[in-house]
């Protein structure tokens, strides 16, 4: 870089600003709602990264003598039935939810996209088989599928993550498949063929990059859903195991204190809602920025 003349440097920068991703970022920036969403998401990401330093307490510092205390100066969000600081647990819990959200979605994107591309590109019986598999998975009530998967693998955070990833595979698969089908018909693909390009190159250098925008949007929204699904599994006792401060599990554990100590129940719920809201807002903004024509 240093070898470039300053003028060239400016020019390069200016040109780069005009790329489609830059354009998207520019229009994303314009949406206040999307920025609020991104703000919330970044806030929780920071919480997750710096949890050990931010949180006043660790995950499992039990102190039976201060069980179920209402929010106070000392414990902003109160304490739970082990006398642990709820705020601290929520902060640590951000790690879990984001982790599950991100990685389950990455898992479904990888598997789903691969299947979707194969189906969309090769068509015929390959498509028929893969599409039928997607149909089967979609017709399966998703929470039951998750329960079944977790039952097979045993309850743990990791398995909940796998279950959620599996549930979402057909969504991404279908999305990519239909995208591939429509991009296949685009004129720039015809023109790529017309210059004598090989299929493989068309697939990876033209079709794939152009299908990414909706995947990113769908991915962001799927993170939101995944967080809720993870919480639901946690709530059913099929997710993270104690003393992991998974938000859904915290909620489940707090159920019996709904009347006596509602704060144990309200705050983890709010944490889930806020995070999910953040991802949803951001996904919406991304959709408008990246792919205005795509519908939810």
């Amino acid at each position: 870089m240093s070898e470039l003349a300053p003028k060239a440097n400016v020019a390069v920068k200016k040109e780069r600003e005009a790329g489609p991703w830059r354009e998207a970022w520019r229009s994303f920036k314009k949406s206040k709602v999307a920025l609020v969403g991104a703000g919330i998401v970044i806030f929780f990401i920071l919480l997750a990264i710096f949890a050990p330093w931010i949180a006043p307490q660790g995950i499992n510092e039990q102190n039976m003598s201060i069980r179920l205390q209402a929010p106070s100066a000392e414990h902003w969000l109160g304490t739970d039935d082990f006398g642990r600081d709820i705020l601290s647990r929520i902060i640590h819990g951000a790690r879990i939810s984001l982790w599950v959200g991100f990685f389950s979605v990455i898992g479904s994107v990888i598997v789903g996209s691969t299947l979707g591309i194969i189906a969309g590109y090769y068509g015929r019986w390959v498509d028929a088989i893969i599409s039928r598999i997607f149909d089967i998975m979609l017709a399966f009530p998703s929470i039951l599928l998750a329960i079944a998967v977790v039952s097979v693998l045993g309850p743990s955070l990791q398995n909940a993550l796998i279950a959620i990833a599996i549930i979402n595979i057909p969504n991404f698969g279908r999305l990519i498949r239909s995208k591939v089908l429509s991009i296949k018909e685009e004129e720039y693909i015809t023109s790529a063929k017309a210059i004598g390009m090989k299929d493989f190159r068309i697939l990876f250098s033209h079709i794939l990059p152009n299908s990414m925008a909706p995947v990113i949007v769908q991915g962001t929204l799927a993170i939101a859903t995944a967080i809720i699904e993870a919480a639901a599994l946690g709530f059913l006792g099929l997710g993270a195991q104690a003393p992991t401060p998974e938000w859904g599990k915290m909620l489940a554990d707090a159920r019996q204190y709904l009347i006596n100590a509602p704060w144990t129940m309200i705050f983890p719920g709010l944490a889930i809602m806020l995070t999910v809201l953040g991802f949803n807002l951001m996904g919406d903004g991304l959709r408008d920025a990246l792919d205005p024509k795509m519908k939810s």
């Binding site: 009530p141 998703s142 929470i143 039952s151 909620l251 809602m273």
Partner: protein, 334 residues
């Protein structure tokens, strides 16, 4: 048209068969033994072995699978390992409970969601639009079980104005005819029960309706916005038509098609996905039925339950597809 339905139904067969196979394999992969569950914690090993033999669980899986399929083709959904009740005898009772709740929820969701979406699109960027869309986002962001508990806490316990569990006042039960109580009370002439039946529907209904309502509202809005920009809407206005009719006649009919898809999908999700709501509100529905069957490793119930839910899901979507052709004369299925 009939051809089309025929083809769709034909296509259904491999999907449903694949489904039974997947379910069959999954539930047998789940550790835990029905015999153990049936006999409980106290059971001896021998007792369990002999029960397994009696239930035919010691046959190779393919024998069991083909037996099950054979049953299916003769309309036999199998019988519960635990209660010995044939699945087809009791499934309707659960299904109808879920159907009633889901229908109630989807009706609320459609009425409110569609109208909110329309008004938001009509008055784009107004305060109503912003409020409705933020609420819709909050709606899809709320864990349903949390919402359910909060509703119980507020309306059931703090305000004490609505019942929190079940479908009916058990002291004065509804005589089930169709299983849809709102209809049954008309058939049995017990209109006085209407109030309690509806009251029982309210909280679980709201909990269940929130997410579809939000999704429908958002979908309607974006679909309406697109349609409102179309040439024929401009034509309608150029004729001098009132905005209200432009929106509700010309635009809505066109905008509703993608919304219908969403409604169909959501209805399907409600059917199978109401487990949490059903658990929290003590609703004796199919979700809980299957969930409990999973806990009890009641294989035939799980298999047939999921099969029935999937079947209804697929049928709803077929119905929605047929609805399209009613709405849109361009869509001809043949």
């Amino acid at each position: 048209m009939l051809h089309y339905i025929g083809r769709r139904l034909l296509q259904l067969i491999p999907v449903l068969l694949g489904m039974t196979f997947v379910v069959f394999m999954i539930i047998r992969a789940i550790p835990g033994d029905p015999a153990q569950v049936i006999l409980g914690q106290q059971a001896t090993k021998e007792a369990i072995e002999s029960l397994r033999a009696k239930l035919g669980l010691d046959n190779p899986w393919y024998v069991q699978y083909f037996d099950y399929l054979k049953g299916l083709f003769t309309g036999d959904l199998g019988e519960s390992l635990r209660t010995k009740v044939p699945v087809q005898d009791e499934i309707w009772q659960y299904l109808s409970a879920t159907l009633e709740l889901s229908l109630f929820a989807i009706i609320i969701a459609v009425i409110i969601g569609v109208n909110a979406g329309i008004i938001s699109a009509w008055f784009q960027n107004s305060w109503f639009d912003y409020t409705a869309m933020i609420l819709a986002l909050v709606g899809v962001s709320m864990p349903i079980f949390w919402l359910g508990l909060m509703l119980q806490w507020v309306f059931g316990i703090q305000l004490d104005i609505l019942p929190t569990t079940g479908r009916e006042e058990v002291r004065d039960p509804v005589q089930a005819v169709t299983g849809l109580y709102v209809i049954d009370i008309f058939m049995t002439g017990r209109l006085d029960q209407l109030g309690t039946v509806l009251k029982h529907l309210v909280l679980p209904g709201i909990a269940l309706a929130t997410i579809p309502m939000a999704i429908i509202a958002r979908m309607t809005r974006s679909s309406m916005l697109e349609v409102m920009r179309s040439d024929y809407v401009r034509t309608a206005r150029a004729k001098g038509q009132k905005m209200f009719w432009v929106v509700y006649k010309h635009a809505l009919k066109n905008a509703i098609i993608p919304v219908l898809t969403v409604i169909g999908l959501q209805m399907g999700l409600l059917l199978g996905g109401a487990i949490l709501t059903e658990t929290i509100f003590g609703w004796p529905g199919i979700g809980r039925y299957i969930y409990e069957a999973i806990n009890f490793r009641d294989y035939p119930v799980i298999q047939s339950g999921i099969l029935v839910v999937a079947f209804i899901f697929v049928m709803i979507n077929l119905l929605i597809d047929l609805l399209y052709s009613l709405i849109d004369p361009r869509i001809k299925y043949d």
